[in-house]
Amino acid sequence: MNLETFKYDNRIVRAFAIATIIWGIVGMSAGLLAAVQLFWPEANLNLQFVSFGRLRPLHTNAVIFAFVGNGMFMGIYYSLQRLCKARMFNDKLSWINFWGWNAIIVAAAVTLPLGLTTSKEYAELEWPIDIAIAIVWVVFTVNLMGTILRRREKHMYVAIWFFIATALTVAMLHIVNSLAVPASAFKSYPIYAGVQDALVQWWYGHNAVAFFLTTPYLGLMYYFLPKAAGRPVFSYRLSIIHFWALIFIYIWAGPHHLLFTALPDWAQSLGMVFSIMLIAPSWGGMLNGLLTLRGAWDKVREEPMLKFMVVALTAYGMATLEGPLLSIKSVNSLSHYTDWTVAHVHTGALGWNGFLTFSMLYWLFPRLYNTPLWSKKLANWHFWISLTGMMFYVIPMYWSGITQGLMWKQFTPEGFLKYANFLETVIQLIPMFVLRAVGGLLYILGTFLMAYNLWKTAKSGVFVPEVEAQAAPRNSGHDLHAEQDPWKHRWLEAKPITLTVLSLVAVAIGGLVEIVPMYLIKENVPTLSSVKPYTPLEVLGRDIYIREGCVGCHSQMIRPFRSETERYGEYSKAGEFVYDHPFLWGSKRTGPDLHRVGAKYPDAWHYNHMDDPRLTSPGSIMPRYSWLLEQKMDKKSLPARIAALRKVGVPYPAGYENSEALKDLEKQAETIVTNLKVGSVEAQPDKEIIAMIAYLQRLGTDIKAQAVAAPVNTSN
């Protein structure tokens, strides 16, 4: 047999590994600072750039796209070459992938603190960066598929199926969810509004978890676990079934982020039942991992890398059971908007993604540097400290979430809300917030130990930039199991293009079935004639609300429960959001819902409250927004904003932005200044706070002008 000699590229793997460690520390530290601000608001030093609303997206983006993203590329670039018996398709593409991706992260780290954000969760980056992401992702996909097409192994191992599904689906999600019309270099409005925007966003958001945090990492688990354990994978047929079931079902589950909202009932129900159906396919991955360790548990005791892997898989199993349970409507009615969700996602992030990344790093460094790990003992310390940190994180968050959820719903025997003042339910949680920060600190401490250990490992070895390997060219051998291939899956594993197309079909169906009817069938968003577009001043105010990340802590979606309508007012209707580009329903209530805050307080109250929330609401943990009182609003950009909004479908009259808009803005600003005077507040009409007050006072008020309430849809 004639063997070909080739070289695996370790340089690119090392680059991604170093980036993973650095961004991990950055992302976790941002999270820690955010956590501290929740019990000590002054920890933002009254700097707008690190106030909670801007810091939170920085934390989530850094952890997901920088830490896990680089970790994913690290693992794929290492394992793919070896599974394909081929060097990466093109070294230049590899490095464009590396530098491009990390440049995007730097751009995120600069723009998010500046308040340049779309406000759509996990898709906060503005349009120029979105385009860069799409390009870099295509580069990665070409490199991935090119390597697969040039492979020397006839069959693609299960890990590669997961990599293919990841590449395709992330591209699809990112492009569809990011469609927007720019108003300036760093400001755009999504083409979707209200209910549709919410659905597209959570189709994206949920599947970012599925196809960025889950499928690539499952693929990596399928490589690194059996390699480290030296055991065969438990069940090939389980791999097949859980792979296809997982990617097909996952995509439908997005609406479970929108239960009890203004999303039509049928879409909510689909989101719920597909989440339930996800339990078994998700557990298929965990089982295939844990059962692979049968007969190798003694190694788990010896090898820190395997300990991390076992915890990662266990956390994965817990999170993927909990997720479907949280998707059951009655459970969700308690858990949603609370810290329960925060606990849930951190089981996934700290446990599954974090520990699996650590596991890979501990495996890779000794191999990249051709030397044993510097200290197993230190790695064990890392394991126990980070595991303790994780417990200190998630347990208080469960406690906090359930406490607050129950307090929100508690009625007195007289039929009144027991805790009518939202703040009472927040103050109750502060000890839990402190414990959570301790947990986060421990987890980061563990990460530092790892960084030190890996640094020492690198120092004590010599980097191996390339590894020579030999393999026969593809197709030289015959397939031994063709006769054992009832589902033709072995056949499919030799056909990357067919497998890619079938995967694409599997992941496209769910989105099409849910999203398309939301556009075509008018009944899904019943119109309310009294709902009008925002005034120019309100547009500027809304964009400040977006810039400051208010949506990170305040929902604008009152659910149809008595406990919510008693607290906030009439529940939110789909027709109220038709001009909301983007929707700002939110997913967490660290502060109260704001959908009906309009006309609830005098203008002066808002002014004082923004200047220092603790003046008007003692004990509040909201940051100060005193810079809104100083900074001038950006009137110059108004025409471009109005024009862009018209392009996405808001019916401003033609030419409105040329002169009328500014006049209307100034008139409304003067009214607010007059109102403020009544409340003994002297303010100039060109400050940002005026626009913010205008927006807040408008919220949820249009429906009150509706003479007859919209008919309630009681069937389906």
Binding site: L83, K85, E153, H155, Y157, A159, Y223, K227, P232, V233, F234, S235, Y236, R237, L238, S239, I241, A245, F260, D265, W266, Q268, S269, V273, F274, I276, M277, A280, P281, W283, L287, L291, F411, T412, P413, E414, G415, F416, A420, L480, H481, P560, F561, R562, E566, Y571, Y601, P602, A604, W605, T616, S617, P618, V678, G679, S680, V712, T714, S715, N716
Partner: protein, 195 residues
């Protein structure tokens, strides 16, 4: 493929040294999957094909009806007895009143009662009647024309009486820069019995 889980077939293919067994799917796992799928189908049929269950708007309407009945009864009981109410001087009641005032009243009447949008509560020129029962009524009914909200159904009965008691103590406190009197034309109202 006939194999059993005790002796799974070790597939002959391997990838970078990784071998694969071909164990049967765990039975409980298969059943778990079936049950979840059956549940999903049943759920969709129940709610969206045969329309047997309440969707969220209908469920809300029912919940709201029950809750409103309970609340209306307790409010009616309280309001039937308003004429006999006396301001409380108990520390605990006034402390509760202070808290409620800070959250709900201070936004319009200022934390010290000096008045912003809402009138000054510390002078003797009360607009809508000056005895304790009058202020309880104002809190309950509001003055919609002038922007005073109705707190009926928002504040519990004991909260209304305690905050009214607290407001009663504000009279004559003379905070700095108060809102000027708004009821001069009808002459000063009766001074507080606390003075």
């Amino acid at each position: 493929m006939n194999n059993d889980s005790k002796q799974p077939i070790l597939l002959e293919h391997e990838a970078d040294g990784i071998k694969e067994l071909d164990n049967l799917l765990p039975r409980w796992w298969v059943w778990l999957f079936y049950i979840c799928v059956a549940y999903a189908v049943a759920y969709m049929l129940y709610y969206h094909v045969f329309n047997m269950g309440d969707l969220q708007a209908a469920a809300y309407a029912k919940e709201q009806k029950i809750g409103e009945e309970i609340k209306a009864a307790s409010i009616a009981k309280f309001e039937a007895n308003i004429a006999n109410l006396e301001p409380s001087k108990e520390q605990a009641v006034l402390a509760q009143g202070t808290q409620i005032y800070t959250v709900y009243c201070a936004p319009c009447h200022r934390p010290d009662g000096g008045g912003i949008v809402g009138p000054n509560l510390t002078d003797d020129f009360w607009i809508h009647g000056s005895n304790y029962v009058d202020s309880v009524k104002i809190i309950i009914n509001g003055v919609p024309d002038k922007g005073m909200l109705t707190w009926r159904g928002v504040l519990k009965p004991d909260e209304i009486t305690s905050v009214a008691s607290y407001i009663y103590t504000l009279r004559g406190t003379k905070p700095p820069n108060p809102k000027p009197p708004e009821n001069l034309q009808t002459g000063p109202a009766k001074p507080s019995e606390f003075e």
